[in-house]
Amino acid sequence: MTQQQMPLNIEGLQEYQSKLSGNSNGWLKTFRQKSFDQWSAEPMPTPKDEEWKYTSLADVINRRFQLARRHQLVEDRQFENYRSRADINVVLVNGVLWGELSNLKDLPPGLKISSFNEALGHGSDEIRDTVSKLTPNDSKPFLWMNQALFLDGAFIRVMPEAEIGPLVHIIHVTSGILPDTVVFPRTFISVGESASVDILESHISFEPVSYLSNAVTDIRIAANAMVGFCKTQAEAHQAVHVGTTRIWQEAASYLDSFSFNFGGRLVRNNLSVLIKGEATRTVMNGLYGIDGNQHVDNHTLLDIQHPNCTSYQLYKGLLNGKSRAVFNGKIYVHAQAQKTDAYQLNKHLLLGKEARVDTKPQLEIFADDVKCTHGATIGQLNEEEIFYLQSRCIPRPTAIQLMSKGFIDDIINTIKSDSIRAKLGRLLLKKFPEIKL
């Protein structure tokens, strides 16, 4: 196949592929090849595809991309501000684990962190198990592309019954690249039975360079485990980020997930949670605060295949300027998933005159003894409430600040980890300095 026929125009693809890990490894080679074939056979999605109805990739498709040559952090001052020493930091630059920046030496018992390539060296059965059990979701072309082309990744294992105290912070930095580079951050997380852990996955970049980040994260949560998982995306304004997070939840496990989006020009997040056991609890919350001409698209899927599961989902959007938000939340309840209790709410606050929202909360239910509700609201600040505050001698700008902060706070406060909350608070402050208070 020639370069011109590929769905995405990438320079030096063949040379790059020949250097990828797993070329000597049986299953990984087949896996990569299969993914590559699938990816190259399918055209890139257009707004005619239902899943991409409101997000156009025309700009991405027409560009000529190159692959990252160096994996070194260029700008480190801002990075240092972002990272905190108390956490267990796992730093990946352009998709490659960077040991010097990470602190992987004194890990608490029960926690194993290595690069993907290293884990492969030690025996790849676990990775194979994890990967093969996850089914693809709506962002197939990007998933296949990542699977075919990822260089390295973080591989995190929490042993059964381990309780990990400090926050595990996976930082994907894109740095030192030429314009129009494509990177493939990849993360594997496997949490053993009855273990508990808090994980923050950050995607950041500080240099004003345009690039495409095609990130994939796979998380497997075994029975009775408790996982707090937060994904933050605060990349440069020129970045395009397409993220796919696939979570596999077994019986009586608890997932508290959060998705933050602040940066990037065009961001698409696919979060799919597969419920593979009874009596699970799932929280899927999210917040996006965007301005200018940013475009954020969140697609979530909750696929409930077993009875007695509960889920709660709240996504909030704060839109300023000409920004545009898309939300598509699907809850799929299979016939055997009786006694499901699922709740979904999507709220938007439109501050910008030309902000635009397209939302589609979606229920597909095949079981009769369930309680499923969803809601969506779109509105602006209530003039009467602003007037009330003004009548109490609070100036109008402060009143607006107060109310916007109130809108955001109730969702930020659902995050249990103090460390995550503090980091997000700082990000939020940078993005919306008027909401400091």
Partner: protein, 485 residues
């Protein structure tokens, strides 16, 4: 012939609980040959003695339709439709051609409508409701025309309107649903047979409820009716629509188009009780119901409301919409969709806000039992010009049994930051505690279910005109009989 009818009636009585409109009237038919091509389109036009411009329009639609593909996105499956294996025109042969009044209409036809509970003859007529009865491809008769004419209201069949009021038809036909709109609307534009035309002049409040009753009788035919309602400034009309078909093992296509135009301060209320034959318990037969209904609130303060009870058809594909162009215009949609056995419904609405301070309300109730699939699909679109737009949507689903499904696909697109929208949806089953309470008060199972279902649908039923409301309640009770327990 009377023998056959008796036999049929016996059979019908047995099946009364199932579908009491499933009988078939034996009457000689005047059919066009099967299949669809330009000749058939010309033939239909000729049969109706249409003017040149109408035929031109049909042919344009037909040529456009040939380029189109059947939509594949609806959330149901159905056997392929062979568009060449359908009779596009079938009219009951009448002894007198073009009966001038109802007295001249064939006895057999009048009897049929009598059995359907739609008495057309003068003495039995319901007071207060004017009926246009459509049998296969033609309108059999329209009642109360004289009385309506006194108010300047035109209420007649589409063919009559094309002949007698061409200036109005030309002005409004296709202005809301153009012939290029979608696959089924294009097909309808090419081959539409009859339907009702209704024109309410300026400042007139229509004293009667207007109604059209659609009956499919002939086998292997498709029904393609087209309805156009125009309400001039400050007028009001309430329009009802009912439909039934005989029980058959084969599927029949019904592709209708309804266009409503409301000018300044006008109000149109459109109610439907759809009870086409829905197929048997195994899902054989039934009507494929692909309908395009759209209203345009062109004038300021205009108002259009759609109320529908969808209880029949093997497949329902229907999205009554309102284009809110005029400032302060209001669009409403109230729907109950009941699906049982192997029925599928993919129905909902579209509200497009263009004018300032436009408001829309959507209340949709879906009930699904046995092996049925019920989907709500709705679009609320706020255009940049629609300052101060307001929408409230509520869609609730109820599942009865564990083999059915309920889905909601609400699309919300907002391009104006002054809009306020609320959407909520829920899915649940009949509450065991409520059932227990009712049973403990001496109500039997069926009564309790019916009471709960009634309560569930009350928001919609109260929007229906009185007679329809009673009929709708009975219809739901009948349909759900035996499905809970």
């Amino acid at each position: 012939m009377s023998e056959t009818i008796k036999q049929k009636e016996l059979q019908d009585n047995k099946l009364a609980g199932d579908y009491r409109y499933g009988f078939h009237t034996v009457i000689e038919e005047d059919k066009a040959p099967k299949g669809l091509n330009e000749d058939i389109v010309c033939l239909i036009s000729a049969k109706k003695k249409e003017p040149e411009w109408m035929l031109e329009w049909r042919l344009k639609a037909f040529r456009h339709w040939r380029q189109m593909q059947e939509p594949a996105w609806p959330n149901f499956e159905y056997g392929p439709i062979d568009y060449q294996d359908i009779y596009y025109y079938s009219a009951p042969k009448q002894k007198k051609e073009n009966p001038k009044n109802l007295a001249e209409v064939d006895e057999e036809l009048l009897k049929t409508f009598d059995r359907l509970g739609i008495p057309l003859t003068e003495q039995k007529r319901l007071t207060g409701v004017a009926v246009d009865a459509v049998f296969d491809s033609i309108s059999v008769g329209t009642t109360h025309q004289g009385e309506l004419a006194k108010h300047g209201i035109i209420f007649c069949s589409m063919s009559e309107a094309v002949a007698h009021h061409p200036q109005l038809v030309r002005k409004y036909l296709g202005s809301v649903v153009p012939y290029t709109d979608n696959f089924f609307a294009s097909l309808n534009s090419a081959v539409f047979s009859d339907g009702s035309f209704c024109y309410i002049p300026r400042g007139v409040r229509c004293p009667l409820e207007l109604s059209t009753y659609f009956r499919i009788n002939a086998e292997d035919t498709g029904q393609f009716e087209r309805t156009l309602i125009v309400a001039e400034d400050s007028s009001y009309v309430s329009y009802l629509e009912g439909c039934t078909a005989p029980m058959r093992d084969t599927n029949q296509l019904h592709a209708a188009v309804v266009e409503l135009v409301a000018l300044d301060n006008a109000e149109i209320k459109y109610s439907t009780v759809q009870n086409w034959y829905s197929g048997d318990k195994e899902g054989r037969g039934g009507i494929y119901n692909f309908v395009t209904k759209r209203g345009a609130c062109r004038g300021v303060n205009s108002k259009i409301s759609w109320t529908q009870v969808e209880a029949g058809s093997a497949i329902t594909w229907k999205y009554p919409s309102v284009i809110l162009q005029g400032n302060n215009s209001v669009g409403k949609f109230y729907s109950v969709a009941l699906t049982n056995n192997h029925m599928s419904a993919d129905t909902g609405t579209k509200m497009v806000h263009i004018g300032k301070n436009t408001k829309s309300t959507i209340v949709s109730k879906g009930i699904s039992s046995d092996f049925a699939h019920n989907s709500y699909r709705g679009l609320v679109k706020i255009m940049p010009t629609a300052d101060g737009a307001r929408n409230f949507s509520q869609c609730d689903s109820m599942l009865v049994g564990n083999h059915c499904s309920a889905n909601t696909f609400p699309y919300i697109e907002v391009k104006n930051n002054t809009a306020v929208l609320e959407h909520e949806a829920s899915t649940s089953k009949i509450n065991a505690e409520q059932m227990f309470y009712l049973r403990s008060r001496g109500l039997d199972l069926e009564e309790s279910v019916s009471l709960i279902i009634n309560g569930f649908c009350k928001d919609v039923f109260k929007e229906l005109p009185l007679e329809f409301s009673v009929e709708a309640v009975k219809l739901l009770e009948m349909k759900l009989e035996g499905s809970v327990g």
